[in-house]
């Protein structure tokens, strides 16, 4: 029976891999970029120059700003951020919603270009920038990823003997397969973890049955109860909000210094105001820190920091593993690298599919044509999102600052470029398509620091001199991506276009070493 199991696993791996692979590539790529959101946010908003100020000062500036600009709002939020990060404040009320970035030292609003920055990639990762059913599509691709990882492990019989096997000098198919296996096997724990925790994080959307039964479908009631939100009797009399910095100082006793992640204020101008201070999560795996709740009018503690229940801790830990808010730049760079390794597994898998199967077809038959279309779609679905990402960063610097709805234009540009690469990929022979699109990608990426220098006067060298780690990391990423794309383009252009399986013999290519 073992052969039967292996064969059905191989079938599942091949076909589910192809169907989900194209979608999965975008999900993995945008997920890796979303992890670097703090860095990408900083690069896409070059005006954002945050000065160093202790959190208590930042909170004071935020309260002053919100009291002037949004005194009638029913809800405020303040994210003081770690030292060196900008201070973000937001509000919502009858007059609408708003958000502003402030200099934490002076409290002045910073004029920052209208860009979604890293948030766009987070959105692309979670929903493919689609309405709610995008969440379901991503869930399906996450499920496919779990199946592909498990079935891939089963069909790879000699997993440990081949653990370290990479033969770039062997036949093209062998080299692609080795690359696929090496990247897949070595990052296997990460791939299992990220697919599983990604699904678990959004269980309320994918598996709502429990909430349906226990809460009659009232998800808000479920979240209120599971997070034990403090409810107070309504009291609409006007009242002045007590000092937020004083409350921030009180939280330091439980959280430690400079450890505020978020401050929420409900009904800031009323007698029933509630202030909730959340602990930052950068030093622990769990998502969502503990919180302390204050009576907004008096500044007294209503509820101290309570330990969370075991189920809550399990959920927060799994979600925290996925969202990677802990461990700073070091852990985030690991996540980016391993996420991109996942992208490599998918990309090499999609290429293998056409190499292995497409070449078996006799030319001119309907099957051969179908495989040719798949082969060309591979270009637009794998090189395409990469080129579009490069274009997104270009547009961030090129679209005039005063344009209305500017951030929409950046996103539309992303999808237009992607659509363009799909059309281009279908029109060109697959090899040419890969060479042209990856060549374009390397040009776009390598020129980004220069474009930055031309438009803002800053680039990797000035960032390095200033010790601006976040923006240096982004530009380093551009250069690495551009160099890798150039390397692959060069190899593709240098290698002979004949396929080894066509001649039935491995064609040996020169070593890169």
């Amino acid at each position: 029976m073992k052969g039967g199991v292996t064969q059905s696993m191989a079938w599942a791996h091949t076909w589910l891999g192809l169907v989900a692979g194209w979608m999965l590539f975008t999900v993995l790529l945008s997920g890796a970029l979303a992890v670097a959101k703090p860095e990408i946010d900083a690069w896409t908003r070059p005006e954002q120059a945050a000065s160093l100020a202790p959190q208590s000062v930042a909170v004071q500036r935020a309260q002053h700003y919100l009291a002037q600009e949004a005194s009638n709002a029913t809800w405020w939020f303040i994210t003081p951020g770690p030292p060196g990060a900008p201070l973000t404040v937001g509000w919502a009320g009858a007059a609408g919603v708003g958000e502003a970035s402030l200099d934490p030292a002076t409290g002045e609003a910073l004029a920052i270009r209208d860009s979604d920055g890293g948030e766009f990639f987070a959105d692309l990762h979670a929903t493919l920038h689609l309405p709610v059913w995008g969440l379901w599509l991503v869930a399906a691709s996450g499920l496919f990823m779990l199946i592909a990882v498990v079935s891939g492990t089963v069909i790879h019989k000699r997993i440990f003997r081949d653990f370290f096997t990479f033969r770039p000098g062997a036949s093209a198919q062998r080299a692609w397969l080795d690359g696929h296996n090496v990247a897949g096997v070595l990052a296997l724990p990460f791939h299992l973890m990220i697919a599983y925790t990604g699904l678990v994080s959004f269980f309320w959307a994918y598996m709502p049955a429990g909430i349906e039964v226990a809460y009659g479908g009232d998800q808000v009631a479920y979240f209120q109860e599971s997070t034990l939100r403090v409810e107070r009797p309504e009291d609409t009399r006007p009242a002045t909000l007590a000092s937020l910095p004083a409350m921030a100082r009180l939280t330091e006793r439980s959280f430690g210094p400079e450890a505020i992640g978020l401050i929420n204020v409900k009904n800031p101008g009323r007698a029933d105001a509630v202030v909730t201070v959340y602990r930052a999560t950068h030093d622990r795996v769990q998502l969502h820190g503990e919180r302390i709740t204050f009576d907004g009018a008096t500044g007294r503690i209503i509820e101290p920091a309570l330990p969370a229940g075991p189920v809550n801790v399990a959920y927060r830990t799994l979600a925290g593993l996925h969202f990677a808010q802990f461990g700073g730049g070091f852990v985030r760079s690991l996540y980016v690298a391993l996420g991109l390794a996942g992208g490599i597994v998918v990309a090499t898998g999609a290429v293998l599919f056409t190499i292995k199967r497409g070449d078996r077809q006799r030319p001119g038959t309907r099957a051969a044509n179908a495989y040719q279309i798949i082969e060309r779609l591979n270009v637009g679905m794998i090189a395409g999102p990469l080129v579009a990402t490069g274009a997104f960063f270009w547009l961030n610097r090129l679209i005039p600052l005063e344009t209305t709805e500017r951030h929409h234009l950046e996103i539309q540009g992303y999808f237009l470029v992607w659509a363009g690469t799909l059309v281009h990929g279908l029109m060109r022979p697959a090899r040419r398509g890969w060479i042209e699109q990856l060549g374009l990608l390397s040009l776009l990426s390598l020129a980004l620091p220069l474009l930055n220098l031309a438009t803002t006067g800053d680039w990797i060298v000035s960032y390095l001199e200033r010790g601006d780690e976040a923006r240096t990391a982004v530009e380093l990423g551009f250069i690495i991506a551009g160099a890798l794309a150039a390397g692959v383009t060069w190899r593709l252009a240098a290698s002979t276009p004949t396929r080894p399986s066509a001649s039935g013999r491995a064609s040996r290519r020169g070593h890169a070493s």
């Binding site: 003997r161 653990f163 370290f164 096997t165 990479f166 033969r167 770039p168 000098g169 090496v182 990247a183 070595l186 990052a187 724990p189 990460f190 030093d283 622990r284 795996v285 593993l321 802990f326 461990g327 070091f330 852990v331 690991l334 996540y335 690298a337 391993l338 390794a341 070593h511 890169a512 070493s513």
Partner: protein
């Protein structure tokens, strides 16, 4: 300090890789004896586990373990590249080298 963890896990991965017949042959010019295979594997896994210590020490238990797991994957990947492109580098005095890399 974190570099120490990276170096430990990377050495562990290379040593485990050298317990594999093909790579051993490439570097040392002869297949490994049975006892040597077990010794290399044991030493390799010990190095991998030891590599957790710097991360746990700096980042704390939970984050340290997560970071170590990620570093393990990347170190193994680096080891694959080394064993593929630079096998002789690990041999004492250059070793006898492989036929593929004169």
């Amino acid at each position: 300090m974190m570099m120490l963890g990276v170096l430990l896990t990377y050495s562990g991965a290379v040593v485990i890789g050298l317990s594999i017949r093909r790579h051993h042959q490439e570097v040392f010019g002869k297949p490994p004896a049975r006892a040597l295979v077990y010794m290399l594997r044991c030493a390799g896994y010990c190095l991998l586990v030891l590599g957790a210590w710097p991360f746990v020490h700096i980042l704390g238990g939970s984050i340290g373990i997560v970071a170590w797991a990620g570093v393990n994957s990347l170190s193994a990947f680096l080891a694959v590249l080394t064993l593929t492109y630079r096998p002789w580098r690990h041999a004492p005095l250059g070793g006898r080298g492989s036929t593929r890399h004169p």
